[in-house]
């Protein structure tokens, strides 16, 4: 059955008649959250399940808004399919009448019609057509809303049902049944014949009573076994749920470890930004001090020079000769008397040479006398004033100390010149350390968000975990007990079967000793027994072969989706126990040990199995049905999404409709667009369901989804 069209009329955001067209193979529908994606699937499901309870909520607000009071319009969902070369249409609809303050909706009705190869149209009962177009048993496994709904395999009987629906084993069921029928019928015939023979009647009657009793007991035990198996199933489900929490808890523990490491890293970053203190301790307060220092230096120098000049003048007045003797050649400003020092002067005189300009100053020469006068003046100036007439002009010498201070500070200022670059470096260093911390904080936040996502996906929070862990241990206990119960039932059934076989053997012996007719009928019965065994054994074999093929194919697709990543191996176990066989799916690692996959691996595992089933049954099935998936890839990364779509695209002859919100993004004007990568995605058809702009979330009457072919 190929779904060709889905038409939504005035259903929620689909104002007016909106048509989705599909074809065989992979069909992609892109739609941003809230723009019609989920509504599409809901409308599609409504067509099939026809819920009457909330019809009003299905009505398009925009259509209602535009309708006048008293007027009516129709709300409908219809599909057109191609099945067995016939075009079949199904439409579920109801009428809406706008009243003053409310609406009146009619009951919904279902119309169906078929157009055959000759173009002849026949109207048929909608509900019957529905079941034949898309049987509910199949629908159950063909529509998936999101990743969670893929966990259909949590129920052990699901996979078996699926296999029985899709595989050739289905065909063999009839043979198995027929074999059983023939066998039983032949057995009855023998018994009837035997019954005529009074010789063995008493014994036969007793045997028959026993057989009846044993069979009854088996039925009882099998019913109990079945109930216990269900309890076991439920218990295992609960345990699995908690194990997934533990799995989550492990994931969360890992993340917590990472967060801890990041915090340690952060704490090891010390930012020293005590800038106010650095002003003093590092001398930063003197950054612009040079000017002041220069001012001071100049001031002191100027004053000092002035002082010396005055001193010279004074000395001139005080003692001309001496003063004259000390006048310099071009009336230049003389050096202070103390410069050069007494010791140096004495050494120069002793050596009879001016050691500054390297000129001879022989005793008695002009230079020699000059130096001598100078030395005498120096010696005299340091003597305390003896005479009263000897008046010193400058009794104080504060300027000298100030001069020293100026020298000292100027010398030290070399060190201080690196202050500006020091300040700059420090600020830059602190900035970069700060950025490191911000970066680490970002990483920590991301990890916290990861945690929230994981916890959000599971139904319990981090705290409830301990409570579940308590249950978990109790459940594990219960499970052990139930496992033992199951085993005891199985054992009991085996024992009763042994008794049954023993009685049957007795019966066979009697049958052997019967007359010709009995003998013949017995032969026939044995014959049919063999045929029944052949049929049943072949059915089981086909089933097991299918499972093996399924496993192989599923693993192929699994590796395709998860290209390059470690996947483990999918293993399907069939357990023939109780009244119905059960299937369990496990993921094995390299050591053949089962492990819990993460969400995206689990999802891709289920999709692989579903797709493998569909792929395998193309040859054997009379019919195939479309698969509808709503965004089953929220846990997938970009590459994995692409691989998945590629895999689905390559499954031959399977119509798959996938609804995505990925491949859509907003530009700088907040306008939605399809990202370039989508061009590379192989598909048979692509459509974009988007809300007409402008729209207002809070005003439903502005919502109108339009469908754009890509």
């Amino acid at each position: 059955m190929i779904l060709e069209e889905v038409i939504l009329e005035n259903v929620q955001c689909y104002y007016g008649k909106k048509t989705f067209r599909f074809t065989n193979g992979l069909n992609i529908v892109l739609s941003e959250n809230g723009e019609g994606k989920t509504k599409f699937i809901e409308a599609f499901e409504w067509l099939f399940n026809g819920e009457e309870s909330k019809l009003e909520s299905l009505v398009s607000a925009k259509k209602l808004h535009e309708t006048n009071i008293g007027e009516r319009f129709s709300v409908s969902v219809s599909i057109t399919v191609n099945q067995h070369d016939e075009i079949k249409t199904l439409k579920r609809f109801f009428i809406v009448e706008k009243l003053t303050d409310s609406v009146r909706v009619s009951k919904s009705e279902m119309n169906g019609d078929i157009v055959n190869l000759n173009g002849e149209r026949t109207e048929v009962n909608g509900n019957h057509l529905l079941e034949s177009v898309f049987p509910s048993t199949i629908r159950k496994y063909s529509i998936f809303k999101g990743e969670e709904s893929l966990n259909i395999f949590d129920d052990k009987e699901t996979l078996v049902s699926l296999i029985n629906i899709y595989s050739a084993a289905k065909s063999y069921e009839k043979y198995h049944k027929r074999g059983e029928f023939l066998k039983t019928k032949a057995d009855d015939a023998v018994n009837t014949e035997l019954g005529r023979d009074t010789r063995h009647k008493k014994e036969l009657d007793k045997i028959n009573i026993n057989l009846k009793e044993f069979r009854r007991q088996i039925v009882v035990q099998e019913t109990l076994l079945q109930e216990t198996l269900e309890t076991e199933n439920n218990l295992e489900k609960s345990i699995k749920e908690v194990e997934s929490f533990i799995h989550n808890a492990e994931e969360i523990n890992l993340i917590n470890e990472e967060i801890k490491k990041l915090n340690i890293k952060k704490n090891n970053i010390f930012i020293k930004d005590d800038y106010t203190t650095f002003l003093f301790d590092e001398g930063w307060i003197l950054k612009d001090y040079k000017l002041i220092l220069d001012e001071f230096t100049v001031k002191i120098k100027t004053n000092y020079d002035t002082k010396i000049a005055l001193e010279v003048e004074h000395n001139l007045e005080q003692g001309k000769n001496k003063a004259e003797a000390l006048t310099l050649v071009n009336n230049a400003l003389p050096l202070p008397l103390t410069t050069p020092s007494k010791a140096i002067m004495e050494s120069m005189l002793a050596d009879q040479i001016c050691k500054v300009c390297n000129t001879e100053a022989k005793k008695g020469s002009k230079p020699y006398n000059f130096m001598m006068n100078r030395l005498e003046a120096l010696i005299e100036s340091s003597k305390p004033s003896t005479s009263e007439t000897e008046v010193k002009l400058f009794p104080n010498n504060y300027l000298r100390k100030l001069d020293y201070l100026s020298e000292e500070l100027n010398e030290n200022f070399g060190k201080l010149s690196s202050v500006p670059s020091q300040i700059k470096e420090k600020l830059e260093l602190n900035e970069s350390l700060k950025n490191q911390i911000i970066q680490i904080d970002k990483e920590i936040e991301e990890k916290e968000n990861q945690k929230i996502r994981i916890i959000g996906k599971s139904t319990v929070g981090e705290d409830t975990l301990s409570k579940n862990l308590k249950n978990y241990t109790g459940w594990q206990h219960d499970l052990k007990r139930i496992n033992r119960e199951v085993n005891s039932f199985v054992q009991k059934i085996e024992d009763i079967n042994k008794d049954l076989t023993a009685e049957n053997l007795k019966k066979d012996r009697i049958q052997q000793s019967g007359g010709t007719n009995t003998k013949k009928l017995t032969q026939i019965k044995d014959f049919f027994q063999d045929i029944a065994k052949i049929f049943t054994d072949t059915k089981v074999k086909m089933f097991n072969e299918f499972v093996a093929d399924l496993e192989k194919k599923a693993n192929e697709k699994f590796k395709l989706i998860n290209k390059g990543a470690f996947t483990g191996v999918i293993k399907i176990y069939i357990r023939n126990i109780g009244l119905r066989p059960q299937a369990e799916i496990e993921l094995l690692d390299v050591n053949d040990k089962a492990f819990m996959p993460n969400k995206s691996l689990e999802t891709s595992m289920y999709i692989s199995i579903i797709m493998a089933i569909s792929d395998l049954t193309k040859e054997t099935q009379d019919e195939h049905y479309p698969m509808l998936m709503d965004a089953p890839v929220s846990s997938f990364g970009e590459i994995k999404k692409r691989e998945l779509l590629e895999m689905i695209y390559n499954v031959k002859n399977q119509q798959t409709i996938v609804l995505f919100k990925d491949y859509l993004d907003v530009d700088e004007n907040n306008k939605l667009f399809i990202i370039r990568d989508f061009e590379k995605v192989k598909r048979e058809s692509a459509q974009w369901a988007k809300l007409e702009r402008p729209f207002n979330d809070e005003k439903l009457e502005t919502l109108n989804t339009i469908i754009q072919i890509i």
Binding site: Y175, R178, L182, K185, D530, I531, I534, T538
Partner: protein, 80 residues
């Protein structure tokens, strides 16, 4: 190859045929039509059953009871 032939062939693979009935591989026919003409009772019966269930023609299909009657009638006449 028709579906019923495929199904028939799958039954023929069962070891009972060789072990209990001593039938050689090469003596097993490929099609239901051939099987129905076989003189080996078990092959003929299985062929008939397949035909009653998966016949291409609606008329060929038979109920369980009809099948039983048809087969036992045949089986009564042959040496098993």
């Amino acid at each position: 190859m028709a579906k019923k032939d495929e199904i028939f062939k799958s039954f023929m693979k069962h070891e009972l045929l060789k072990e209990k009935y001593g039938i050689d591989r090469k003596n097993i026919p490929d099609t239901v039509r051939e099987a129905k003409n076989s003189e080996v009772p078990i092959i003929k019966i299985i062929g008939e059953i397949v035909d009653t269930i998966d016949s291409n023609i609606e008329a060929g299909k038979k109920t369980e009871q009809q099948t039983y009657d048809l087969l036992t009638r045949y089986l009564s006449t042959v040496e098993l």
